[in-house]
């Protein structure tokens, strides 16, 4: 699953990138909702949000972007990743409802852990809404066994498996030391597992595909955007080449999710 910060490097080129990602065979795309203080992200994705926010961001522009995707790809399902305050400001129920109208099938909120999620679902009365849109949970290398059981018991959509301690855009990637956690998750739930954080080469992608049900590529995509800011027409070309390279050697079923 590719990740793209909405509006990076600008709204027009962002839509063109979506076309490339869809045509590369992505089953779904994770769209990033920009935020001023993205504490779970490394330098590359921090800069991508800064680029979008420098163009005077509004929620209207974001929804217009989603509507542009829907127009070009009417049945293509999306996921939206955003920090808690954006959801809180607009109201969780309101934003979830609105996202649903743009074929968004799930949301990822990196600064809302399981306990806060449960509290919010209760306080904001979101149970019904969440039958149509999933709120994705995280499993990380630090997740304790008792937390893992709780999280798996209510997981929906997929589980976001954070491959390393730290933030997005890690330079090293290996799931092998974490196989026991993946095994524990499999025992508790049939919900698919997607690996993220640090996947940037075909080798990483192969490893992730062999141990999980798919993987998320974000920082690598935004590096390519960043490297080509002065010649934006090249971004889509370079991305196409990179994605082909990244997905080489993975059977199609395995990158269905990817």
């Amino acid at each position: 699953m590719p990740y793209l910060a909405a509006g990076d490097p600008d709204w027009e080129n962002s839509l063109k990138i979506i076309d490339v990602l869809v045509n590369a065979g992505a089953d779904t795309i994770e769209i990033g909702l920009p935020f001023t203080d993205p504490v779970a992200d490394g330098p590359v994705l921090q800069k991508s949000f800064k680029r979008v926010l420098a163009q005077e961001f509004t929620m209207e522009k974001f929804f217009k972007f989603l509507s542009g995707i829907k127009k070009a790809h009417p049945h293509f399902p999306l996921l939206v990743m955003g920090y808690a305050n954006i959801f809180y400001r607009m109201g969780f129920a309101r934003i979830l409802k609105q996202l649903g109208t743009y074929n968004v099938t799930g949301v990822i909120i990196p600064d809302i852990p399981y306990e806060e999620k449960m509290r919010l679902i209760k306080n904001e009365k979101l149970e019904l809404l969440l039958q149509n849109i999933s709120w994705v949970d995280f499993i990380t290398p630090t997740t304790t066994k008792d937390r893992l059981i709780k999280i798996c018991s209510s997981a929906s959509g997929f589980l976001y498996f954070v491959s390393t301690k730290g933030v997005t855009g890690q330079s090293q990637f290996s799931l092998k030391p974490l196989q026991n956690i993946i095994r524990d998750v499999r025992k508790k739930t049939k919900t698919p597992i997607l690996a993220g954080f640090g996947i940037r080469t075909a080798e990483h992608a192969r490893e992730a595909a062999s141990l999980t049900d798919g993987f998320i590529v974000g920082s690598r995509i935004h590096e390519i955007i960043e490297e080509n800011l002065n010649k934006r027409e090249f971004i889509t070309i370079k991305l196409r080449t990179e994605l082909t390279k990244l997905l080489s050697g993975i059977e199609h079923e395995k990158h269905l999710m990817a």
Binding site: P34, F35, T36, D37, P38, V39, A40, G42, L53, F57, T58, M59, Y83, A84, N85, I86, F87, Y88, R89, M90, P110, D111, I112, P113, Y114, E115, E116, R119, D137, F138, I139, T140, P141, T142, T143, T144, R147, I151, V162, K165, G166, V167
Partner: protein, 395 residues
């Protein structure tokens, strides 16, 4: 009050962090809960507060200022502590906590550098390597504090690009912590961030309030009419308020930075002008725009230059137990000079906000025909600000 099981004070607080950090927060809460009942831990903390930091601090009757302003004014002298501000109450507590928890590395954020210097100081004392994150702009404005931290053996890392300030330093500390969670303790510097930090920092700062209450009863045989403290994240205010929270007749006033004025965008008065939001780990008042983006803020004082505030302050505001006022850069600068000339005490620019607000309040109070008894928390000394003030006055 103590927060509920999820770390909420009424509607505010909680733990809005990535799943990576949750186990560490739970571990910290449990370790803290055990250690505050451990006599040896408490003895180590209290002894170090006394012998290393210099507690208790005096409650000083500011006679000249009292005469001039027609009130009886006491200053709680946190400015006399080692490293020059109340920050060390917390860094000593948390550094000893880190040591008892077996952590071998400490990280901290800092704005003006006061919390960073205090952390570097206590880490030197307890032989724990530490890394301090500081915004690049702050590092330039407070270059001397950057050097002080290095002198104390800390690694100092500039963050956030050229415009980097305290909020960037907090974000970068949270990122570092997520990466090095096994061996590292994050010494958060104020009553902000995810639970249990607001509670732990408040408990370590509450010594200010406990001492102040005893001291004012000794001096005056009665409680004050009001207590004033400046609010950035809110730790010195929370510390002194805590001594008087149950004394309903004592008015508690937190003073925010109005910067160039509350009608401009250049202030950092989140309790006066912000809205509830989720920022850097907790739900509290935040300065933000309609999309939920966190605003750029301003204050003459780097220690107040932060868009968020501790969740317990949000609770005290909504329940009306505490009141929140604000003063401009100009008013704070005037108070800075006035206290220096009148009492021979150069206050920190942060604390100058509390002094300026007290002056305005006394004027109103005097109209009723009586003069009040007031305590101002003099949270830090102004040596660090002298160069900046000289620059501003020369303009």
């Amino acid at each position: 009050m103590n927060p509920d099981q999820l770390g909420y004070y009424g509607d505010y607080g909680g733990r809005f962090v990535s799943e990576l950090l949750m186990p560490a927060l739970i571990e910290l809460e449990s370790a803290y809960g055990k250690l505050v009942k451990n006599k040896e831990f408490l003895k180590e903390y209290r002894d170090s507060l006394r012998d290393f930091a210099g507690r208790p601090t005096g409650l000083f009757w500011a006679k000249n200022l009292s005469e001039k302003w027609n009130a009886k004014i006491y200053l709680k002298r946190e400015d006399l502590l080692h490293t020059g501000a109340h920050k060390i109450n917390n860094t000593l507590g948390q550094t000893i906590l880190a040591k008892w928890m077996g952590k071998t590395r400490v990280i901290a954020e800092t704005g003006a550098g006061q919390h960073g210097v205090a952390t570097a100081t206590t880490c030197a004392r307890y032989k724990i390597p530490c890394t301090i994150y500081m915004g690049e702009e702050d590092l330039r404005r407070q270059a001397l504090n950057g050097f002080r931290m290095k002198l104390l053996g800390a690694e100092v890392v500039g963050v956030g690009g050229k415009k980097g300030t305290l909020r960037d330093a907090v974000s970068e500390s949270l990122r570092d912590w997520a990466k090095n969670i096994d061996n590292t303790h994050y010494v958060l510097g104020s009553v902000v961030g995810p639970h249990p930090f607001p509670m732990i920092v408040r408990e370590f700062q509450s010594v200010i309030g406990r001492e102040s209450r005893m001291q004012i009863l000794e001096h005056e045989k009665r409680l004050p009419d009001a207590v004033f403290a400046c609010v950035g994240g809110g730790s010195n205010a929370m510390g002194i308020f805590y001594g008087f929270l149950d004394d309903e007749n004592v008015k508690l006033v937190g003073v925010e930075a109005a910067g160039h004025g509350l009608n401009t965008n250049l202030h950092s008065a989140k309790l006066s002008k912000g809205m509830p939001g989720i920022f850097q780990g907790s739900l509290s008042y935040v300065l933000q725009d309609n999309s939920g983006m966190i605003s750029d803020v301003h204050s003459i004082s780097a220690g107040l230059d932060y868009p968020g505030v501790g969740p317990e302050h949000a609770y005290l505001k909504d329940t009306k137990r505490a009141h929140y006022e604000s003063v401009t850069d100009k008013e704070a600068l005037d108070a800075f000079q006035e206290l220096s000339e009148t009492e021979g005490i150069i206050p920190a620019l942060e604390s100058s906000h509390a002094i300026a607000s007290t002056k305005k309040w006394i004027k109103k109070y005097n109209k009723s025909g009586s003069s009040p008894l007031v305590i101002i928390n003099l949270s830090g000394r102004g040596d660090k600000d002298v160069a900046e003030v000289q620059r501003l006055l020369d303009l």
